[in-house]
């Protein structure tokens, strides 16, 4: 009965579950509801992904109003792929959160935590599903507001200033996007993405549209923490509760990257962005600087969460790099990395959260000797860390492989080499932590404490992600075909233009 309504369900299920959580009142009921709803959304989005692989794009007219008059839900493979990752991670994080936030968040706020989490999920699903430029802004703001709340739930008071900075930057970003969308509307009279794409083609080189693009890109860059607009991210991820860091790091910024892809490839078209505006050079340069600067920053931090946060910014650099290579393979590598990075960062932050739970600290000193005390957690950390580095047989290798391949196809040897050099920095910052865990004696932070392995509810989601990391590093057929289909769809116009020339 609901088969044709599936595209809209991942949005409205969490949206309706959020107020229900408040009405339920009890935090464990809220947890149960949130987890179930999230899992249901995950199942639905996987189904949708498989459907898009078979049938192509799914379109759903909200309210029965045909686009461009009404709002359209439009899910193609790229959206469905990231949607599956987001809902999947959300489910795992929720399972994980029960034990994690029990220590880090005040009990009176647990229900609010789950509500905010569901709202955030609603926003992210909405961004990924919608086919309307303004609707995207609305969902962006739902997720952002929920995110500010989630970040501010941290136990350290610095989470407040982090959340505030995030709020200010995020709002500036959103307002920039709003300005850009306004300019688009001004010139075209429509907000539907497909309709926009059709109409923009007439205006190649129009100054208003150029400015609109510039504002959208800057706005999205703030949201996705592209260097040098990333300053809000490290403190936010460092001081947020671990479950929140795990969720945000693996989903929120990735969804912003998706938004960028959407605007560049679907709405404006690669021709406009890269040819008329030459954005590829700028993005490329920023991506490279991001990779190096932030990887380097990650190597000198003592707080492991900050290390991972900087690493996230660097990894975003890889995704942008893939986009800026202006090729189907590059885009595919970027999309693939969005998906894979979600798996690894999720697992890493979960492991760090487990360490925080048991040792009470996330300083690198707290990790010393944990290889023996928390073997399962640290093993998970190790594997996910290897994935970040891009060691073969992990998911991270696959995306880096395609990234370098894409660069080489464009004869960009230097860039290919820089990507690989970036991995070296990853080795250093992950290696430092592993060295502490396996080759050092417990420091004064943990010495004499009886440190147990993390509880089951935390280990299971963590290991699910770790296994996913290995699985998608070895059996790449699903991710590759999805990313490839998605990239082909998105760059369709580009190849047509090339063919025409």
């Amino acid at each position: 009965m609901f088969a044709q309504h599936l595209p809209v369900l991942p949005i409205i299920l969490p949206l309706m579950a959020a107020p229900l959580c408040i009405l339920l009142g009890r935090s464990h009921l809220a947890w149960l509801l949130a987890t179930l709803v999230s899992a249901l959304s995950f199942v639905i989005s996987v189904d949708v992904l498989l459907t898009t692989l078979e049938q192509g794009v799914l379109s759903y007219a909200i309210g029965g109003w045909q686009p461009p008059w009404g709002i359209e839900i439009r899910i193609d493979t790229a959206s469905a792929m990231i949607l599956s990752a987001v809902t999947g991670i959300s489910t795992l994080v929720l399972v994980y959160a029960k034990e994690s936030i029990a220590k880090e968040v005040d009990p009176s706020q647990h229900t609010l935590f789950y509500t905010a989490h569901l709202l955030c999920l609603t926003g992210l699903s909405g961004i990924l599903s919608t086919g309307d430029a303004f609707n995207l802004f609305v969902f962006l703001e739902i997720s952002s507001l929920a995110t500010y709340t989630l970040v501010s739930l941290g136990s350290d008071k610095r989470c407040l200033t982090a959340a505030f900075r995030y709020l200010v930057m995020g709002t500036i970003g959103a307002t920039f996007i709003l300005i850009g969308v306004g300019m688009l509307y001004m010139k075209t009279g429509t907000l539907n993405m497909i309709d926009l794409a059709d109409r923009i083609a007439e205006f190649n080189g129009n100054r208003t549209l150029k400015t609109g693009l510039a504002f959208i890109l800057v706005g999205v860059s703030i949201k996705l923490a592209l260097f040098p607009l990333h300053m809000w991210l490290p403190p936010a991820y460092t001081h947020a509760p671990s479950a929140v860091s795990a969720f945000l790091a693996s989903t929120a910024t990735k969804v912003a990257v998706y938004v960028m892809v959407r605007f560049i490839f679907t709405i404006y078209g690669a021709e406009f962005v890269f040819h008329t505006m030459s954005m590829d050079i700028l993005l490329l340069a920023l991506a490279i600087v991001a990779i190096f600067k932030c990887s380097f920053m990650a190597t000198v931090q003592s707080n492991v969460k900050t290390v991972l946060a900087y690493s996230s910014v660097a990894q975003i650099g890889y995704m942008i790099l893939g986009i800026s290579l202006v090729s189907s393979v590059g885009l595919m590598a970027g999309l693939l990395h969005i998906f894979n990075h979600a798996l690894m960062k999720g697992a890493l932050f979960m492991a760090v959260g487990a360490v925080l739970l048991r040792t009470g600290s996330v300083d690198i000193k707290a990790f010393q000797g944990l290889g023996k005390q928390m073997p399962l957690t640290m093993a998970a950390f190790t594997i996910a860390g290897l994935s970040i580095i891009g060691v073969p047989l992990t998911a991270g290798f696959v995306s880096k492989w395609y990234l370098v391949t894409a660069a080489l196809e464009q004869q960009q040897w230097v860039i290919a080499m820089l990507v690989l050099l970036g991995s070296l920095l990853a080795i250093i910052y992950i290696g430092r932590i592993l060295e502490a865990a396996y080759f050092k004696e417990p420091s004064e932070l943990t010495a004499g404490k009886d440190i147990k392995e993390a509880p089951m509810l935390m280990l299971v989601p963590m290991w699910v992600l770790v296994i996913a990391n290995i699985y998608f590093g070895i059996d790449t057929s699903l991710t590759l075909s999805a990313a490839d289909t998605a990239a082909q769809l998105l760059t369709q116009s580009m190849t047509e233009i090339e063919a025409a020339q």
Binding site: G390, P392, V404, T405, A416, M417, L421, S423, F439, D475
Partner: protein, 504 residues
């Protein structure tokens, strides 16, 4: 001699990789019972060797052996296929693993090392990856196991857990990982993007259609990317890794790591570039001269080292470059010499390391200057040392003679007289830094300012170690007199031959 003949030949490859892994699992399982643990180690090593013998047998009977594990990317799999060069390396590695295991038992017990389980465990793991490297069917598989080898030997290097060991480990890991990721992987990807395949193909994968500069660049990337070959200036990891316990060093230098490096270079040269095409590549000569320079320079450095292990390490750097030079000479004879050198240098160098370890265990000496007069107390060890040193130098009747001979012939064939000269000088340098050690040990007496050491406490090394030393020394001699099976094997390698070809 093929006790596995009932088995599907393709399964043999899987077994060679899996058997050490199973062994490793059992080693971990029996961590509390040292005897059982070491028993398992030896049994695994022996089983593995029989497996490799079976593979050799099949190779001689021209049976093709291939297997595919998974397809990582479309058109790109983790796959194995047996070819003669890999078999040669596998033979050497699996044989020496047995010996090293026996030696380790004596060494580790005699030295009362900690974490012995971890040691044997990692040992088994690294042999497993070496086997995978030997039989890899494409560059991707080779790369993956190349990296795994680095990682699985890292705990061996830092085994001691001291600050120095950690520093050494960091250099080891840093150099090997960075070269392999930044250069080797880049080269692999470059090959993939331009040639469209990574499979090892006799005669090479590049065609005339590929731009010369690209191929030239790739060659440089490969040579430096395979950091385990210790081409200068990326040789620093080798001396740094000397902090490892001696059995580990011997494994690193003689068996697994460095040999994996030069093996990879040989394999890339033969199966990716093709020996015949090599001379057309612009950068071949450049790399060749870098190789010869490494030979000379590291020999010179070796002379300045007083620490025995450090001297041996630089000697290894020098000897590895022989193989690189042989590979790059673009001559089938030189390539054969290089291949043979893998085996001969392996037995020679492992003997030297065993001796060094034995001296450590028995006399607690590290520095050459302290070994004056040691020969009288440890005659077997020092005699073995002398024989192995001669083999390295390349004097008959030792195994090293043959490989050096072919190298020289190859250089002549390639019309590179300067290489011949350099090789000769280098052999002289070898004499200069290796021979003084046994001479001092046997013929010098301690001078006055040497601290007197109580000779009565010093005796020969523990029995297992001694057995190992004797076996490898015998091998050094044996290979001089009966090198034919190996040479036959080498002649099976496409484009490689010990016969001189007619000048074109």
């Amino acid at each position: 001699m093929n006790i596995w003949s009932t088995l599907d030949p393709a399964q043999l490859i899987n077994l060679t990789i899996v058997v050490p892994l199973i062994g490793a699992a059992f080693i971990a399982l029996f961590s509390q019972q040292p005897n059982l643990r070491e028993g398992v180690s030896i049994i695994t090593a022996v089983v593995l060797f029989t497996l490799v013998l079976a593979v050799t047998d099949n190779t001689f009977s021209k049976l093709s052996m291939e297997t595919t594990w998974v397809a990582l990317f479309p058109g790109l799999e983790i796959a194995y296929s047996v070819e003669p060069l890999g078999v040669l390396f596998a033979l050497v590695a699996s044989f020496l693993w047995i010996i090293t295991t026996i030696y380790s038992i004596g060494y580790m017990r005699g030295h009362n090392e900690e974490n012995q389980t971890r040691f044997f465990f990692c040992f088994a793991l690294s042999i497993s990856t070496v086997m995978a490297i030997c039989f890899s069917a494409n560059l991707l598989t080779l790369f993956i196991f190349y990296e795994l080898l680095t990682l699985s030997t890292y705990p061996l290097v830092t085994h001691a857990g001291t600050k120095e060991a950690k520093h050494g480990g960091r250099v080891y890991l840093g150099v090997l990982l960075s070269t392999s990721i930044v250069l080797f992987l880049l080269a692999i990807l470059g090959t993939w993007v331009s040639a469209g395949t990574l499979n090892f193909t006799p005669g090479g994968v590049f065609t005339q259609a590929h731009s010369d500069s690209l191929v030239a660049l790739l060659l440089v990337l490969f040579c430096y990317g395979i950091g385990k070959a210790a081409l200068m200036p990326f040789h620093r990891w080798l001396p740094a890794a000397m902090v490892a316990p001696t059995p580990a060093s011997s494994l690193l230098h003689a068996v697994a790591v460095v040999k994996a490096g030069v093996f990879s270079i040989l394999k890339v040269v033969i199966y990716i570039f093709g020996i015949d095409n090599l001379s057309d590549i612009a950068t071949t000569d450049v790399m060749l001269y870098i190789g010869t320079a490494t030979v000379l320079l590291s020999s010179c450095v070796a002379m300045t080292k007083d620490s025995l292990k450090a001297r041996l390490a630089y000697s290894t750097v020098s000897q590895l470059s022989y193989i690189v030079v042989g590979a790059l000479l673009a001559s089938s004879v030189a390539a054969a010499g290089a291949s043979l050198h893998i085996a001969t240098h392996a037995v020679g160098k492992i003997t030297l390391f065993f001796c060094a370890g034995a001296i450590m265990v028995a006399a607690h000496k590290k520095n050459i200057s302290e070994m004056v007069g040691l020969g009288r107390k440890m005659p077997i060890t020092m005699i073995a040392f002398a024989i192995a040193a001669l083999s390295i130098i390349g004097l008959p009747p030792m195994a090293g003679t043959w490989s050096k001979w072919y190298l020289m012939v190859g250089a002549v064939e390639a019309d590179k007289m300067i290489i011949v000269v350099v090789l000769t000088i280098s052999s002289l340098l070898n004499v200069a830094y290796l021979l003084p050690i046994p001479i001092k040990a046997f013929f010098n007496t301690p001078s006055g300012d040497q601290p007197a050491w109580s000779w009565s406490e010093t005796k020969e090394a523990p029995l297992p170690s001694l057995i190992a030393i004797v076996v490898t020394t015998t091998a050094c001699l044996w290979l001089f007199f009966y090198p034919q099976p190996l040479i036959d094997l080498i002649n099976l390698i496409p484009d490689v031959s010990t016969e001189l070809k007619g000048r074109p």
